[in-house]
């Protein structure tokens, strides 16, 4: 409980006590716990994208905040997940890969602040900065997909490529007068090529015909 007081008093004892830092100096993240609630990730078969050079699902967060997206008053997400499942969403279990929960918590102002395991936090001059281990996240997603048997629907993939191609064509058209569009178009063209290449069937290794010895004639 935080009080607004104009001064603090210290108790004096004659016998020495283990030193305790004052509460104000205890190190916590300079962020409010209520702004980083615990969450569950949701998967939808229509949401696939190109992450770190792979087709992977674009998951969304379901914040387990009472009042948010039908999470109940005690923070129970059962009804929220049931409602979302009617729309095709599937909750990704926190223990889908044992020992690798995708949420981590840090001590922050007012409790625990929750982040994705692949969000890297750094304090620079008292300011909190975050970066992302995108490849680590993509590796994790790949293993989750393998475990749960999720693969992108070919039509969804084709739709994403077509959409990106349409944007790329627009950027290419604008390229002569827009350096940024030209840059985007160049990158997009590379990504489209990689996306298309990923759809090529993997060629089976060539197995040389082996001569099957004809059965011996019985004499």
């Amino acid at each position: 409980m935080a009080f607004t007081t104009s001064s603090t008093s210290t108790a004096s004892h004659l016998s020495p006590q283990p030193a305790q830092p004052p509460q104000a100096t205890q190190e916590v993240l300079p962020a409010y716990a209520s702004e980083h609630p615990y969450f569950t990730l949701l998967y939808h078969p229509l949401r696939w994208g190109w992450l770190s050079g792979r087709w992977l699902p674009i998951l969304r967060k379901l914040s387990l905040t009472p009042g948010s997206q039908n999470v109940d008053k005690q923070g129970d997400p059962s009804m929220a997940i049931a409602i979302e499942s009617q729309q095709g969403w599937v909750a990704v279990p926190h223990t889908v890969l044992p020992g690798e929960d995708y949420v981590v918590a840090y001590a922050a102002r007012g409790g625990l602040a929750h982040f994705s395991r692949w969000e890297k936090l750094k304090l620079l001059g008292g300011r909190l900065t975050t970066s992302s281990d995108e490849h680590g996240y993509a590796d994790y997603l790949e293993r989750v997909c393998a475990r749960l048997g999720w693969t992108p629907d070919p039509d969804v993939v084709e739709g994403r490529i077509t959409a990106l191609e349409a944007e790329c064509v627009q950027d290419e058209a604008a390229a002569p007068t827009d350096v940024k569009a030209a840059h985007r178009a160049k990158l997009a063209r590379k990504v489209i090529d990689a996306m298309r290449a990923s759809l090529q069937p993997v060629e089976e290794p060539v197995v040389e015909d082996t001569v099957i010895p004809s059965p011996r004639r019985k004499s």
Binding site: P66, E167, R184
Partner: protein
């Protein structure tokens, strides 16, 4: 020359610092779309027997007529696929400060007392909470545009708008973007040629639409919020472009219990009370807000997931 009356010579007749009699607003994102007509109000849970508010999506008028040959009987149409529903679960959001008497009596800003000043802040706190609940939703539309790790561009903007138009989503549209996404959109727009123009917010428009109003582009009001969530493990931000009515909220009103003691300030959905704790020599200022926000119609919104 000696023994001049300098400032340091005054010594005990001076103080280290004095407080300027004005409270300067600390930098922060105070914006909220609370009360914006784009957010559908699903009603109050008061007296309903449930904290879940359900609303009906009626589409019987969308059932198509079909040709029937002369003299034949028309077949019945199942209405089920033309009627749907959504729901909003209302829960309590609260904030409390405890202000001691000593803090109160030494408070040096008039005319408001410390307790009054803290009580005033509850309205903003509730509206920011509403904004947080709203932003929880914007990453959750099934339709997405943008590429992970790639800046938001005007091309993505038109893809999002095209997706809404393809779904017959009615205008007007509204965009909620992370400030970084707005920066990227503006950077992309700088190089655009032709009649497209971003109309930045003016002081008058911000007074009308709030701090987060960034401007208008392509006939769409754009709002920014630092509470727009991250996506793809923090690599991206997930804002949204949506129709009016894509998101719904419901609330509940506290019935004042004057006989219990304490002072209730104001009325309406944000209920602020001051509770006296004589034993502690302190006043507790408590704000309660009962609200819930959820998606109303998925196809009325597009999540914009781009580099953060």
């Amino acid at each position: 020359m000696a023994d001049e009356v300098t400032f340091s010579a005054l010594s005990d007749a001076t103080v280290a610092a004095t407080l300027h009699q004005e409270l300067l607003a600390k930098l922060g994102d105070r914006h909220s779309l609370w009360g914006h007509p784009a957010i559908y109000y699903a009603g109050s849970v008061n007296g309903t027997g449930s904290n879940v508010r359900k609303f009906t999506l009626w589409g019987a008028d969308l059932a198509p007529m079909a040709a029937v040959s002369d003299g034949s009987s028309a077949s019945n149409t199942a209405i089920g696929s033309y009627v749907g529903s959504g729901s909003v679960t209302v829960a309590r959001q609260a904030l409390m400060f405890t202000s001691t008497d000593l803090a109160g009596m030494t408070w040096g800003f008039s005319p408001a007392t410390l307790v009054e000043k803290i009580a005033e802040s509850m309205a903003t706190a509730a509206k920011r909470r509403f904004q947080a609940l709203l932003c929880d939703i914007v990453d959750g539309f099934t339709t997405t545009v943008g590429s992970s790790g790639v800046d938001f561009s005007v091309t993505n903007w038109f893809s999002a708008k095209a997706a809404l138009q393809s779904a017959s989503a009615p205008g007007p549209f509204l965009a909620i973007l992370h400030p970084q996404q707005l920066n990227d959109l503006q950077a992309s727009l700088r190089a655009e040629t032709g009649p497209m123009q971003f109309v930045p917010a003016t002081a008058e428009l911000m007074a009308l639409k709030g701090q987060g109003y960034a401007g208008m582009f392509d006939g769409v009001d754009i709002f920014t919020s630092s509470q727009v969530p991250t996506a793809n493990a923090g690599a991206d931000r997930a804002g949204a472009l949506m129709s009016y009515g894509a998101v719904a909220f419901a609330d509940g009103l506290v019935t004042p219990q004057v006989a219990v003691g304490g002072i209730a300030i104001g009325s309406g959905p944000i209920y602020v009370e001051i509770e006296r704790d004589a034993g502690m020599g302190a006043n507790k200022i408590v704000g309660n807000y009962f609200v819930g926000v959820s998606k109303a119609q998925d196809l009325m919104g597009v999540s914009i997931i781009t580099d953060s």
